[in-house]
Chain length 368, copies 4
């Protein structure tokens, strides 16, 4: 009834940069994909050793350079603060390593473009974890849209709401432009929302009008914060469809409420990340709740279903599937829907357009 | 445990113009408010007689003028197509009648303004059924916002989605500019959404950027349709809060899905018209589902609660409360939150701003 | 799109006994049915006058007998404490009045049987408000079961949970055997649950094993309370289907949570009274949420739909439809699904079986 | 914000018996716990080799005996059909191996008791995957009940509904008494339901009245089926609380719908396995939706939270935590809430009581 998505062609040998929460998530996924966890680098040798010990990552390297120099490592997971991604990713690619780099891939479009070009040039696998694509029901939504079940797209209703930065007592390195980059809420979670909309819809946002707010210019450990807490935007898609997107990290009671509802001429489809095992299909005559039942899903959704219907799958399962697919790509497979540096570049472009629109207080075209 | 909101000071004598669905809703509400249903006028004497018979409205008048000439009628309910509202309302006011006029009050800002002025000048009650204000939990939401429970408003996430015009086979006089006016989806349902947002938030939308679509220029009985099916907008409120609003009559599976979610610095509040007996209060530590329990609501919400918690109240109940309050105003009371022609004018202004923004493809200020 | 269910053949002339919450509900329904509200009796002339004034019931009578003696009254609504129902109903029938009597019709099976016989003998309309039958989607559920959509019934999962008596500080005359009768939670709400299960399923409970609890023998104003707060039972239906029913008035957080889920060989159907406008249809391949859309419902459900899909209907709407149908029966119509004294007798029998089973701690057959 | 529950004291060396779906689940959990997956046995050497290859389990052994004889294996996962569990578990314990045995541990109380005794005698870890205990919010529910937040328990409303055997075309070895044992629906899923109720409530079911049904005596590949599809029961708990439990594998539209709602004198708590990341806390004044937010949970719930609030956790995560805790027990830890062979014995006793009650059609005491 279910396939084992993570049966690898052969054992990958992985290194990790960073030792925080995302490194834990990446390393669990690598282990689930039966990789050999070779070692870790961090901001100091002692932190690298501690992370390696804690997360079971093999050896601690003295530096990122030392990790790259290890010929035993073939794929590097970059799990460090945003503004360091581009340099690390570039160095890893230049060292001939495959790269799985946390998002945002880069904090400027130029950097992201250079990285995407470099990866293509070197023929290396270069992936960015737009991981919500790996919920089976997100795939099911996409498959149904692609099969024409919803008809021509008319509207998009999307939001990504969180509350972990809802008060000025809440703080994080991400609020700091120097570490997080010029956009925070949008680059961090808005980019996921746009990626999922475009992935499911199968089309692109072409124009947008955005407004942003920095609600708290001061937080516990930061002053003069310039990164936005909140973004509201209207978007137009290539088919002419319209939509609204609301992105906020200051929405009390909303933990990780990513939702998209696409309405087409024939049906609507709604996916909510916090309840990833169901899909709402809206029809005028009667709407359906489709459960993640591997026996009844599109092939690309069924292959990501590890357990039967009614046995909930979650975030780590989606991440595991992403890493398994990235590793499969290293093996030469072409897994459907693997988000690459080209998608990281796309996110940078949309983020840039959002900031520009908010600054100019005008509609902005999004570069294709 | 519950109060009887509709105990009138004395029996009102009501006349009705129009004989369709809304006339049925108005007349049920008038009857529940123990009014004397004196008579009805319609587009012909025979239609007036038939409506009077069918809806139990008393006598059928030969014309609107005949109805106005009856000194026995003190309040007139106008339930006719949109573009006729202004003239009927003006005539009724000039005849010294109180008026309850369906929305949109007028299809131009100038007409709406003149009507609001005229009503004020004459000292007559002049109400417009922004009826969703009369769900007790919408009042509860407003009371909590006003009491500071949500803190300073940061964002608004709103939508009003329907599907009764989702296919080109679906048709209605409202699609016709000549009868419905220049705006359809926004004037018809977007105006409700904006009214409810502003009513609950206690503040106004000051600027907006909108885009509209007419998905079907031809429907079963109409060609060259120019009124919009769909509107997406981003809004800025007077406090600086941002929001997105999506309004569509072509959203398969959505029947009357008016929802608003206001996030403040301290808490969020969400109200959904299709489940009007609960309110979601979002807080970082734990969110609540507040049930409509008259014993535990704000006074203005409790007074509209006819039945105990868990006994659902609905659309007709809300309409009944609106009419009861309008009648109470005729008796000299000043019921909290009665929507008047000033609110009808407000809706006209916002609608005008939306159409202007969509046409100019630019941000537009909304007149105060 | 919707029909006006309450268009009466002619104006009924109604009297009311009692002046509490249920009298308010009955009188609103009578008014909505365009009845002539002739007058009210209560436990004293002054209370009768006060109730008549407050509820708009016409004249206050000095006594129940005086009300019965008024030839102008043709239908009597009995809204008094439980143990008085039987005597009032008998007297009203003997006076040749049609009767709408609150439930429980009687607190013994013998009384209920005598009343049902008397009503039949006299040819009078005698109705009991098993009012949840009048939610359109309960009718829709019943129509689908009757049409074979669910197949042979296999299981019933039902509950009716409230919390208004959840603490010993909560009190009411119903806890007192002398006023409420020997069963409280079951007679009051369990009877609704059983009626709805049997109404929707189209078959009867034939055997049951029950257990009861009186959690609080003392409450604010009562001591030595013997009536039950809580009942749990297993039931077997005539088709062989099995089910569980849980009935509680001490379930914190549950206001009026009546839910039934019937699973058949082909599909399941779930109805929840607190969200009466939707029906869940469970199927192995994909489950549906059916909205109350008059255009798409069974005839008997559509005729009770006063407003379009997405415009919520509630408890008072259901009550209005019940009274309208009872009045229609007086006019000689035979409205589908009107609950009569025969249904009141059925409730008495099931209640008796529940108490007997709990006392003997054994399975008990329910008399047909 | 989250702890890494699966950081092991040292690497466990695990062997697996069986190669089906549950073996895949167990092996993923063992891998996540950083175990050394030494090898697998199955019903033939070739099947063992295939399972080992497919699931990445190390070597394939020629027989179960050969696996037991390997001194390198210290813990054996038994994932075979029900009726084989007891003999395999006995042999493994006798070989000095720790055992993780699929449920039902045994198909007779006598066998289960002997196994529990043997495990205790040998001082070996012997666990049974009542895995729903490992959803963090089930732990949170338990912690709140234990802390007195719900007060004295009054009622239990539980169900476990599935549809994978809803039609006679659906078949499985479990329907066959020879492989599955004398009880099917109850032993398979009812046992989970009872375990979770007792685990969260902190008290035991002491008496019950049950009824069972075998809806389909013939299925695709089996005739004369005697195992039950459906069980309905009423239960009494040691505190005097009452409850109903419905267990069905023939409930169309229900995939794995395990739900429990416990009502106490002060509050209710509801947990649904299909939405395991939230808990409903019912209170008369206002009910709460508690999200799985590690920063705000009881310690025992927080330690099982791998990812932040709003990032859904699922079935495999719960299974991983179970296996990690079982391995920690091998290391000498005493993890809270690890289900052992004593719990497997408990399940056997309740199952036996259910079958006895259904057969005698009478109340039955459950052995302590």
């Amino acid at each position: 009834m279910t396939t084992d998505v993570i049966a690898p062609a052969r054992t990958r040998r992985a290194g990790f940069v960073g030792g925080g929460f995302m490194a834990a998530v990446h390393s669990r996924a690598a282990r689930a994909a039966r990789a050999d966890l070779v070692g870790a680098a961090s901001s100091s040798p002692s932190r690298a050793a501690a992370a390696a010990e804690r997360l079971g990552l093999g050896a601690g390297y003295d530096s990122f350079e030392a990790l790259l120099a290890d010929p035993d490592i073939e794929v590097v997971h970059i799990c460090t603060p945003n503004t360091t991604h581009a340099a690390f990713a570039r160095a890893a690619l230049e060292a001939g390593k495959h790269v799985i780099c946390e998002k945002p891939l880069a904090t400027t479009t130029a950097d992201a473009e250079a990285l995407a070009d470099l990866a293509a040039e070197r023929g290396l696998v270069a992936a960015v974890p737009f991981v919500y694509r790996f919920h089976p029901m997100a795939r099911e939504a996409r498959a149904r849209v692609a099969a024409g079940e919803t008809g021509r797209l008319l509207s998009v209703h999307g939001a990504y709401l969180q509350d972990w930065l809802a008060t000025p007592r809440d703080d994080d390195w991400r609020v700091d432009t120097a570490l997080g980059g010029p956009s925070r809420a949008f680059a961090d979670i808005g980019s996921h929302l746009v990626d999922l909309v475009e992935f499911v819809a199968g089309e692109r946002i072409v124009r947008l009008a955005a407004s942003t707010r920095t609600v708290y210019a001061e937080r516990a450990d930061h002053a003069a914060i310039e990164t936005e807490d909140l973004v509201a935007l209207v978007v137009e898609l290539s088919s002419g469809a319209l939509g609204t997107l609301l992105v906020s990290q200051v929405a009390p009671g909303r933990k990780n409420a990513l939702s998209i509802e696409l309405a087409g001429t024939d049906a609507s489809v709604r996916f909510e990340q916090e309840r990833p095992d169901t899909l709402w299909i809206g029809r005028t005559e009667a709407s359906s709740i489709v459960e993640r039942d591997p026996a009844r899903l599109a092939a690309d959704a069924a292959r990501l279903s590890l357990v039967p219907a009614g046995h909930p799958m979650g975030y780590q399962d989606a991440f595991n599937a992403f890493v398994a697919d990235a590793y499969a790509a290293i093996d030469g497979a072409r897994p459907e829907g693997l988000p690459t540096f080209a998608d990281g570049l796309r996110a940078a472009r949309v983020t840039e357009a959002v900031l520009a629109s908010a600054e100019r207080h005008d509609w902005v075209e999004v570069a294709a």
